[in-house]
Symmetry: C2
Subunit: 338 residues, 2 copies
């Protein structure tokens, strides 16, 4: 168990290193934080912290930098979440309220997050699987061709073509549309399969094939998780670290283009509350020198998707977490209103 002062030393190291981006030594520490002890004492503490694996030195006779494990301890025990100031909160709200549709909400959210945190922002579109159906529309495009349009409560629209096994009249189509909506409108996606199960039974035999085709396309649309989409922004912020440059930025850019990877990453994060993955805690290799701060957001109490930022492990955790949390909260509000 580490003594209180050693924890303070670790906190000071993290803070200084995040600020200066340079290894921090014992003397500088005592000067910048009034720990009430001499550099020599701090050196002893540092040696202990190094033994435990919380900090490391890049070379002999250099200052110390935090390890992933050190950041982990910092985030878990030493750092709070820095709340946004009132003007910041107002600015967030104002900016998001100007959005005209779902795409715009997501786009603005990305922009905002990137600006606030000065890092790369990642926002997942409200996921289909957790939201509810607002309306299902069926359009007859040709005698045996129907377009299915699914509108969700979050304003998202998905469309699919359905090839019918047999021609399907306008009246049958209207009938199907009405029955379908009366069953599923306002219901959660996860409930839909159960709700439409016996729907074909109410139709003439010759129409059942088509009804079945429409239903299975609908169900397909609902479960199709690979339709989950992301928006990313603020990649230019990666260049703020001219340090170890191309070496570290390249794999990150590559990872950011692999939306599948990012979605998996966000999916793995805890469902409620904020998740911070530090360095090697990220399963994906390209992100081994970055941290990912993510949180769920949604209209009402329930999370329908996630958002977060990707930045160097050497980031301002309290500030970033504060910004992420605040943005998630306000996006949720906006979605609930619309």
């Amino acid at each position: 168990m580490l003594s209180e002062r050693r924890l303070q030393v670790l906190r000071a190291i993290v803070q200084d290193y995040v600020g200066t981006e340079e290894p921090v030594g014992s003397k500088a520490l005592t000067e910048r934080h009034n720990l009430g002890v001499s550099p020599a004492t701090v050196r002893n503490d540092m040696a202990a912290l190094e033994d435990e694996g919380f900090i490391a030195q890049p070379h002999t006779s250099a200052g110390r930098i935090p390890t992933d494990k050190g950041y982990r301890l910092f985030v878990d025990k030493l750092a709070g979440v820095k709340p946004m100031t009132a003007p910041e909160r107002r600015a967030i709200q104002n900016f998001l309220e100007g959005a005209v549709d779902l795409d715009d909400v997501v786009a603005r959210t990305v922009r905002l997050l990137a600006q606030l945190t000065r890092q790369v922002a990642v926002v997942q579109y409200p996921s289909l699987t957790r939201s509810t159906v607002r309306h299902v529309e069926l359009l007859s495009l040709a005698p045996a061709r129907v377009m299915l349009v699914l509108i969700t409560d979050t304003g998202r629209v998905e469309q699919r073509m359905v090839d019918c096994p047999a021609p399907f009249g306008e009246t049958s189509l209207a009938d199907l549309r009405a029955r379908l909506n009366s069953r599923v409108a306002g219901r959660r996606f996860s409930d839909v399969p159960r709700l439409v199960e016996d729907l074909p039974e109410g139709f003439d035999v010759e129409d059942r094939g088509t009804v079945q085709a429409v239903l299975s396309t609908l169900l397909e649309t609902l479960v199709e998780e690979n339709e989950e989409r992301l928006m990313i922004g603020g990649t230019a912020n990666l260049t703020r670290f001219p340090h170890d440059f191309p070496l570290t930025i390249r794999p990150v850019l590559e990872a950011l283009e692999e939306h599948v990877v990012l979605l998996k990453l966000l999916g793995e994060a805890g469902d409620s509350g904020m998740t911070v993955r530090i360095g090697h805690e990220n399963a994906y290799e390209g992100l081994n020198s970055t941290s990912v701060v993510s949180v769920g957001y949604g209209s009402g109490g329930e999370a329908v998707a996630k958002l977060g930022v990707v930045g160097p492990t050497r980031m301002d955790y309290p500030g970033t977490m504060g910004a992420v949390r605040a943005v998630a909260r306000y996006v949720g509000q906006i979605l609930a209103e619309s």
Copy 2:
């Protein structure tokens, strides 16, 4: 007027510089290309080319590198478009044919272009303003609230809410839907305003306000150019030039996030045929050290949108142009089929 040999010298300089990324000197030139003359002669030619502003030296006693003007001449007069090989063409076609919907087509196109050119790919979604209406759907979500869904021939779907000045019955709605579609289905967007002009006249006085509201929302959707969307990929390729790094990559990443800027850039490019903008020819400052190769693509003969790549001015123009042209052609085919 430059002699034939001087043009060859310029061509050789461009080719070598693109290959090696290092200033090229007279001796190396004569060794790698059999120009049939000695280095001294080449030096004279180089001096002439430098006087004319086609090449420059970074420092005294260094080799020459092409200027923007030099690349311009190279592209206009000296370089052909390198056609794709048959296997490459087959690969392109196969890859694109796997797409399941419009989003997927665009996503695959971006990926493909980025991979083929090893540069940043930019693909504009098929633009609304140049395509035709497949169907307009109206859904009553509440007594005085209608959702307008517009489906285009390229498979794109746009939706908008319409707040009605007065309640609007289901039968009126069906009536409006039918009349609207009979007028605009299959027509070009640009013709729509003219076609619906006198539509309200056929309705009862109390419904006209709503009809008007629906129509103006429709027209708004049609002209709303800021709804033009882009997809971008291959940003990791920017790191292939560890040269002048953060200095040059940062503004490019920033520019790539400004979709408005990119759309403007693509819009300014010639409407037919391939456009190459080199270095300072790009109005946007952040792209002053990059070249943009773009071309229109579309189903049928007509271009509905543009696609292209962004890379360093020092790029393989013939190869890039070949890839861009080939991809545009095949995407057009895919869109026409679906």
